[in-house]
Amino acid sequence: MTEANSSDEKQTVIKLQDLDTSLQEEISKIPGCEKLMLCFQCGTCSADCPVGRHLNEYKPRLIAMMTKLGMKQALFQGDLLWLCTQCYTCLERCPQNVELAEIISALRGIAAREGYLHPSLKKVIEALANHGYIYEITEFIEEDREMRELPPVPKVNIGEVRKIMRMTGIDKLVGIELEED
């Protein structure tokens, strides 16, 4: 691991010759993320971020810089990447059209592939694989609908959902078992 990639919090100097440029190259190739290198650190994203205003350690501008510097460990640890609410305010307001929200999305994908999927998200995807919805549609819900004279909840073709999930490899990526139907 290069120094720039180190998670050592005491490290304050990032040596240019130690930079890991593979992350900026990988991100810049993803549709929507092409303009990463145009970020000039003005901080519009941080100023307008609904989360950043309430949480000091969450500054989208830093995520852009850390991506450029290839600081994967620091980016992938904890829940940093998963605190973005995807409100897209940064994307709409960036004077350089950097589309940071898209870059954070792409970073989540890379994090997931490298084993850093947030455990809370694994639960959401597990629910989707189990029920076809992100919640279980319980008997209580169906009875309540009947009383309200609402039609039954559309019956998900769960076999189709699971087959699609298997074919696109989300089961292996997330680490869940999908039974063959």
Binding site: P50, V51, R53, H54, L55, D79, W82, L83, T85, Q86, C87, Y88, T89, L91, E92, R93, E99, A101, I104, A106, R108, G109, A112, L117, H118, P119, S120, L121, V124, I125, L128, G132, Y133, I134, Y135, E136, I137, I141, D144, R145, R148, L150, P151, V153, P154, K155, V156, N157, I158, E160, V161, K163, I164, M165, M167, T168, G169, I170, L173, V174
Partner: protein, 288 residues
């Protein structure tokens, strides 16, 4: 007018008042909402990040059901709207991706053909029904009621996908409120996110609540009620005023409930009695 009705997980499982009131209003406006047999979760905004191919294929599966029905999709949830619209646009525009997704869908005997549109009901109201037609149905205007409009992020953003209204200075929902006789008030932070996605992340409940309550405290100074058009926003703002949090007493109301009242539909029939922050203040503005 007929649409494939994509209700979405959260409304189905947690917020019947939103579905009930939308169905009542749609019926009164002559809009037929058809059930989408076999449909499921849109794919979620999360899956779009984690494995875009899975998200695209799941969205395309849902869209293909509406294509079989031969009608456009109407949605209730901002999140579903963004996920389905993004997939629909992408697959209509990009041949290679469409081939790839269709090779997956072929295994479940489905095909994305690019034949339908996806619209949130706010957009459908304005673009398909037209504001004059809705205004003509307002029989019980709610004169003097001050309404704080909350658009929610994914109704408008990102604009490159949603291509609707103006993400920085929107007017669609304000117009829809104003035709009910109520007044959409301007207030600081109107476009701020509700922060509901943070509820998914372990131990971030307090942060989400703090963000939501900041907006509610502002709304309290300017308005009698807040309206939403997304189940996530609704639940976030309602929940963050419930114990153990201190009360703020801003009723959160679905737009469909507000319009329904102005159209003369009964309070109870719109399930307004189920809103957990008592919304009966609205009754003071009826039949003045």
């Amino acid at each position: 007018m007929r649409y494939a009705f994509f209700v979405g997980c959260t409304t189905l499982a947690r917020l019947p008042s939103y579905e009930v009131s939308t169905r009542k209003v749609a019926e009164a406006l002559g809009v037929e909402l058809l059930d989408m047999e076999g449909a499921g979760c849109c794919g979620t905004t999360y899956l779009k990040c984690i494995e875009p191919r899975t998200a695209l294929a799941l969205a395309a599966r849902n869209i293909s059901i509406a294509e079989d029905m031969g009608v456009n999709i109407v949605t209730l949830c901002n999140g579903c709207t963004e996920v389905l619209t993004d997939a629909n646009n992408t697959l209509k525009e990009e041949g290679e991706l469409r081939e790839d997704v269709n090779s997956i869908l072929a295994e479940v005997d489905r095909e994305f053909r690019g034949k339908v549109e996806v619209k949130h009901f706010v957009r459908m109201f304005l673009e398909d029904l037209g504001i004059d037609k809705i205004r003509a149905r307002v029989s019980n205007p709610l004169e003097g009621l001050r309404v704080a409009v909350h658009y929610g992020c994914h109704l408008l953003k990102p604009f490159k996908i949603m291509n609707f209204d103006d993400p920085e200075d929107p007017t669609s929902l304000d117009e829809l409120v104003n035709i009910t006789g109520a007044v959409s008030v301007d207030y600081p932070g109107k476009l701020d996110c509700c922060s509901a996605p943070l509820l998914t992340i372990k131990r971030r409940n307090e942060l989400a609540t703090e963000i939501a309550r900041e907006k509610l405290s502002t709304v309290k100074k300017y308005a009698d009620i807040m309206i939403t058009v997304c189940p996530f926003c609704y639940l976030m703002y309602e929940q963050s005023q419930m114990p153990p949090n201190n009360p703020i007493d801003i009723p959160i109301v679905h737009y469909s409930q507000l319009l329904g009242l102005a159209m003369g539909i009964d309070y109870q029939d719109l399930a307004l009695n189920e809103n957990r922050i008592d919304a009966s203040v609205i009754k003071n503005f009826q039949n003045r």
